[in-house]
């Protein structure tokens, strides 16, 4: 029997020899965690960037690690850090994850690095202001750097619109409803707004902004979920599936919406600009792209409006990293956010290149000449507003998503009452911070 247990021991020792790749000892190695939210071979692309970076910066290696979806990435990193692990050095996470990590003291602001670098101010001001809204805390400190950003946008099937006698896309909600109704047939939805499938808050937020009141303020302790505008917005979205009948009751599922659009089963859809490349290359009809139609707040720009979305670069440091390591980390962050990489990444994936000069850089410059749709996505940024992010983001987002779903699926008929109850719960959580 002892022989058996000895064998077990030998076996386990043998197995433990199969350990992951090792890196040259003299290099600084940056562990870079990234989610993949597109069908591109993100792993291959990041490896290419890492190789190029290593060539330009001998002595610094980057180890790209795929960590699943955005949610997986956030949970993986938190589990690792809470469990005493080293965690990443740099990670791409949702721009709204800021407070989840800042509250725990896991990340360090980019502001100090910007202040210390040559031309730091020019570097920071090259990013589109709307994309910095979620990076900046109430005191104006920049924490994270935009990397793969997006906004929701209106995609329309120009051929179908022309057939129905419309030669331009809707610019306000009244026109939106009118055209959607004209496009609706027995086997085609006029308009799909993807609010089903676990994450209605983002699409909903674009309506709340269009109705005149974002659900989040500049201060991460301010949430406005039961204002008249917030209620009217959700009632409008609900009516698309019920009274107006231009989409499925309860809303469309996020993942299916672009597929249905490409198949000609939806005349118009709300979806992310992150999808532009896929839709342009996949459609066998003329794809139109326009700002999300303005709501009752008016067409002077205040009634337009969509939240921003997507992922930023975060720097992880609990104060234990050496200056040399931090310098290397910052080099990698500036590399990824440089116009050259942003232009390449944006052209490959469809995310909005985050800095203005990237749009003058190849291959994005000629791509956007060829497909002006990319410029619409960029220009909508002037009307874009902060995406929902607060203290206790995950919990509060959970409350909001659950409430929206229960209203949209008809479980809560009285939207105001449901949102009042949710706001009370949210205020209870935020009381700890006020």
């Amino acid at each position: 029997m002892i022989a058996i247990c000895q064998r077990t021991l030998v076996l386990s020792l043998l197995l433990s020899l199969f350990i992951g790749a090792a890196y040259a000892q003299d290099d600084i190695v940056i562990d870079f965690y990234f989610p993949s939210a597109t069908a591109n071979d993100a792993e291959g692309i990041f490896q290419r960037y890492a190789d190029r970076f290593h060539e330009e910066n001998p002595g610094i290696s980057v180890n790209p690690v795929f960590t699943g979806s955005y949610t997986d990435t956030r949970n993986t990193i938190l589990t690792e850090l809470q469990g005493g692990g080293a965690g990443p050095d740099v990670a791409v996470m949702l721009s709204i994850d800021l407070y989840s990590f800042a509250e725990e003291g896991y990340i360090t602001p980019a502001q100090a690095f910007i202040d210390a670098m040559d031309g730091g101010e020019a570097y920071a001001s090259d990013f589109f202001p709307a994309l910095m809204a979620n990076s900046t805390d109430a005191d104006g400190n920049i924490w994270s750097i935009p990397f793969q950003r997006s906004t929701p946008i209106l995609y329309y099937n120009a051929d179908l619109l022309a057939e129905a006698g419309y030669d331009s896309p809707p610019t306000n909600n009244a026109e939106l409803v009118e055209i959607a109704q004209a496009l609706t047939t027995d086997d085609r939805h006029g308009l799909l707004v993807p609010v089903a499938g676990g994450f209605p808050i983002w699409m909903y937020q674009s309506f709340a902004i269009a109705f005149g009141h974002n659900i989040v303020g500049d201060d991460p302790a301010e949430v406005y979920f039961n204002t008249p505008e917030a209620v009217a917005a959700v009632e409008f979205v609900r009516s698309l599936g019920t009274d107006l009948g231009v989409g499925p009751a309860g809303g469309a599922a996020w993942g299916d919406t672009p597929v249905a659009f490409l198949a000609g089963q939806a005349g118009m859809i709300y979806h992310t600009t992150g999808n532009l490349t896929r839709i342009l290359s996949g459609a066998d009809f003329e794809v139109g792209v326009w700002y999300l139609p303005s709501g009752p707040a008016g067409e002077d720009g205040t009634g337009y409006g969509s939240p921003t979305g997507g992922g930023n670069l975060y720097i992880f440091d609990d104060g234990s990293k050496s200056q040399a390591e931090l310098d290397a980390i910052w080099k990698w962050v500036t590399f990824l956010s440089s116009p050259a990489i942003q232009a390449d990444w944006g052209a490959t994936t469809g995310y909005i290149a985050a800095n203005a000069s990237a749009w003058e850089t190849e291959p994005l410059a000629s791509l956007s000449m060829e497909h002006p749709q990319y410029l619409v996505a960029r220009d909508q940024l002037q009307h874009a507003d902060k995406e929902f992010s607060s203290y206790g983001t995950i919990t509060i987002q959970g409350i909001i998503n659950g409430t929206l779903e229960s209203i949209l699926t008809g479980e809560s008929a009285d939207a105001q009452a449901a949102m009042d109850a949710a706001q009370a719960q949210i205020d209870g959580i935020l009381a700890d911070y006020r």
């Binding site: 029997m1 002892i2 247990c5 077990t8 956030r74 949970n75 938190l78 589990t79 989840s100 509250e103 725990e104 003291g105 086997d187 939805h189 799909l192 089903a196 499938g197 676990g198 994450f199 499925p248 009751a249 309860g250 809303g251 469309a252 599922a253 993942g255 299916d256 597929v259 249905a260 198949a263 089963q265 939806a266 203290y391 206790g392 995950i394 919990t395 959970g398 409350i399 998503n401 659950g402 409430t403 779903e405 229960s406 949209l408 699926t409 479980e411 109850a421 719960q425 209870g428 959580i429 700890d432 911070y433």
Partner: protein, 306 residues
């Protein structure tokens, strides 16, 4: 000689502990100690607010349990729904997938044409990674472009919102689970059936027992232990398999198909919810413990009856 005998006795004394040591140590390390920690942590509320990370948690007795049972608390409603769903999900697995597995075993235990094809047809779902299987079904259930609705519409029926309708989505999740598990359970029954001597059936047939009577009085009693075994694993698995929800609507809309373990995963990240997560974990452990213990006692008793 005396030394030899002494050594022999010592070995006999120590041997049992040596034999169980690897299992015991691993179970203590990865199951029991964490569970004990969970019991302790469930009595504390983590510090909240700014700079909470540096502050100690607060002892609150059973407040976390009261909160998750409170329908108006933000975690209460989610917990109560997920708890109910988990029970329905587990019962549906035991009451549908297990009998279906038995039926399939009965059907596929007869010599017939295409036997290999049919066995494959019902067993291949077990070969699919759960997350892949769920993704296939998310395509089938897709509202506007899915297969299920394409079929319904071709029959002149309106399509259903399988993953978006709060009254349907749990059923959809259960359907996937039954499809995934039935063939797997079948294998156990098939083996049990092939073990029953053919002569017994011949004798029963001579006594005039029909097919159904044979099943009732011969097959079922002889399969009792297999049935018990499969019921135990199906029930415990039902509490632990939640990864499919990633592809099947994230437990929504509004938690109408959420399962307890998935709810725990959804809330494990934020410090403020750790107390609730621990309390929910204990509830989950308690339910599985009760059922497993009950099954185990049955198992033991049926052993002793023999």
């Amino acid at each position: 000689m005396i030394a030899g005998a002494w050594r022999h006795r010592l070995t006999a004394r120590v041997l049992p502990y040596l034999l169980i040591a690897p299992t015991l140590v691993l179970v203590l390390m990865f199951n029991v100690l964490p569970a004990v920690n969970t019991v302790n942590d469930s009595l504390y509320k983590p510090a909240r607010g700014l700079n909470a990370a540096g502050k100690p948690p607060q002892f609150v007795r059973l407040q976390n349990f009261a909160d998750i049972l409170d329908d108006s608390h933000y975690m209460g409603q989610r917990f109560l729904r997920s708890f109910r769903n988990t029970l329905i999900f587990a019962l549906a697995t035991v009451l549908v997938a297990v009998p279906l597995g038995l039926l399939l075993a009965l059907l596929l235990n007869r010599p017939q044409q295409l036997l290999g094809v049919w066995r494959f047809a019902v067993f291949y779902p077990a070969l699919l990674p759960l997350i892949g299987a769920a993704s296939i079904w998310s395509f089938i259930f897709s509202d506007s472009i899915g297969l299920a609705n394409a079929v319904l519409r071709s029959l002149g029926q309106p399509g259903l919102n399988w993953l978006g309708d709060r009254n349907l989505v749990l059923l959809s999740v259960i359907i996937v689970n039954i499809w995934k598990q039935a063939g797997y359970f079948m294998i156990f029954f098939l083996a049990g059936l092939q073990n029953i001597a053919r002569e017994l059936y011949e004798a029963a047939a001579l006594d005039g027992a029909g097919g159904f009577q044979q099943f009732l009085w011969l097959t079922l009693p002889l399969l009792r232990r297999t049935l018990l075994f499969v019921s135990v694993i199906s029930f415990t698995f039902a509490f632990q398999t939640v990864e499919q929800l990633q592809a099947l609507g994230e437990g929504g809309p509004a938690d109408s198909a959420n399962l307890l373990l998935y709810l725990i995963f959804q809330n494990i990240a934020e410090r403020r919810n750790w107390g609730y997560v621990n309390a929910m974990t204990l509830v989950l452990i308690a339910v599985v413990l009760t059922f497993t213990l009950g099954n185990f006692l049955l198992f033991e008793r049926s052993e002793n009856d023999r």
